[in-house]
């Protein structure tokens, strides 16, 4: 693999309002320093893509943003969300996760009915009214472009759905919580092309209401759907800029090599 100077980076200042910012974020798995000094702002109501070679720390970085690395890794530094440092030990992590939802690489619906998958976590937040639950059920399934396919089978097991449908159910389950930010970790990597394009369309619609951060190893996908792109290499954010710039006018040699396929 080519050697790059990892002390140099290009991190843009975004003009948009910020959904999340990280300040001097470091992540350690025991002695393994996995993320070095990440400083970047994620814009509101835009899609930000995290790209980079496998093992560079994309998932690690993403999972910090809603405290999913608690008990897995040590995370130092600040994550600012609405002027609060959500990386502080005093923060109620359960509440953080209700504001910042996450969809994983492999679909992980609960072994319950489609309806229960969405309603059960909502009830847990204290919503009791059946009308409201049913309304959120339909609204979130519509939001995830799944309603038409499942509206007659809401009591059927979520496990009976196809992989693509399950993943859209997981997206629906997340957005039913009305989060601010949606984190997605390679949500389409286990899916066929048709399901993938359905999910991409869904994200385009969702970004009107949500700030979306998506990890992808698929460069075409990043350039197709995202507004901003951050390129990670060996735990460093090497370049962060508008997607158009990252793909057509990269500032760093490593980024240039990666997006043009000359990497490694």
């Amino acid at each position: 693999m080519k050697e790059y100077n990892l002390n140099e980076s290009y991190i843009t200042d975004i003009p948009e309002k910020k959904a999340l910012s990280t300040k001097n974020l470091q992540v350690y798995y025991g002695d393994n320093h996995a993320i070095f000094d990440a400083n970047m702002d994620f814009p509101r109501y835009k899609i930000t893509a995290l790209i980079g070679a496998s093992g560079c720390g994309k998932s690690t970085f993403l999972r910090c943003l809603n405290r999913m690395n608690d008990k897995v890794a040590r995370v130092d530094g600040n994550i600012m969300y609405r002027n609060v440092d959500i990386n502080s030990p005093k923060i109620n992590v359960y509440e953080v996760r209700q504001h910042i939802g996450m969809v994983f690489q492999r679909p992980n619906p609960f072994a319950k009915s489609i309806r229960e998958n969405i309603i059960f976590p909502l009830r847990n937040t204290g919503i009791k009214s059946n009308d409201e639950l049913e309304e959120r059920l339909e609204q979130s399934l519509r939001g995830a472009a799944l309603w038409d396919e499942v509206k007659d089978d809401l009591n059927k097991s979520a496990l009976a759905l196809s992989g693509g449908q399950q993943q859209r159910l997981c997206i629906a389950r997340s957005i039913a919580m009305h989060p601010d930010v949606l984190l997605l970790d390679e949500p389409a990597s286990a899916l066929d092309p048709i399901s993938t394009s359905k999910i991409e369309e869904t994200l385009q619609i969702l970004k009107k209401d949500y700030s979306i951060i998506i990890v992808t190893h698929n460069l075409q996908q990043a350039s197709r759907i995202s507004d901003y792109t951050a390129f990670l290499h060996l735990g460093h954010i090497v370049e962060y800029n508008s997607t158009a710039n990252v793909f057509t006018k990269p500032k760093m040699q490593a980024t240039d090599d990666y997006v043009s396929g000359n990497f490694g």
């Binding site: 209700q98 992980n108 609960f110 072994a111 229960e116 059960f120 847990n124 009591n155 097991s157 997340s174």
Partner: protein, 295 residues
Amino acid sequence: MNAKKWDHVASGVIYTLVAAVILILVAILGYILFNGVPDISWHFLTSPAQSFSAGGGIRDQLFNSLYLLVLTIIVSLPIGLGAGIYLSEYASDNWFTDLIRTSVEVLSSLPSVVVGLFGYLLFVIKLNLGFSILSGAIALTFFNLPLLTRNIEESLRSVPNLQREAGMSLGLSNWKTTTKIILPAALPGILTGLILSAGRIFGEAAALIYTAGQSAPTVDYSNWNVFSATSFLNPMRPAETLAVHIWKVNTESVTPDANLISSASSAVLIIVILIFNLGARFLGNKLYKKITATK
């Protein structure tokens, strides 16, 4: 020899071994059922045992076995659930959990006679519980708990971690995730394990001879007062179970029809355990379908 041929040979060997296992099983079951079933009658199941004359039944022993089983499960299930949940969902891997796991393993390899004698010394003598259903139930709990805990822990662990992450990412607490997502998904496995262990408890004799005792005093099945000495529910009375009865009839009985009673009792024992085992599979499947809403 080429791969295909080896494959053939290997399959042949495996099939032969499987056939041997099945053959042994069928032979044992067939022998017991063939000898015992013809002597099972309604009268046999519903009349008390006789010490000196022929024609005795196994009413009390059968009831004692079931009652002891229920009590044992009532005692051991909550403990097993607690320990299993702790080990699988809460404990981190350190010397303490290693110690617990090792203890559980040692406990599970204790011969049941040893458990029985320990129960005799501690509960029957020291704690003055006497030969009683309670002493028996506690001894059986010792005997049952290690495997039950292991089974519950394994069932919980076999639920993919993705499910825990899903719960976490939706802001559910660890406890909510465990009780509302992981436990229901693991329930079929836990139930299967529980029913299989019920079979082991039901057939256990050695741990009971010195704890629940070898006598079956006449009890009154219409007396529902748990504290009354003659009540069938009184946990402080001695209670010979079916398995102990079989052992006793074979060693020291003077009834003329001891052979008949022993073979018929064995058949009843086997049939009940078979029902447990088949029931475990059936219920486990059914429950899984119900919980996951698959039809």
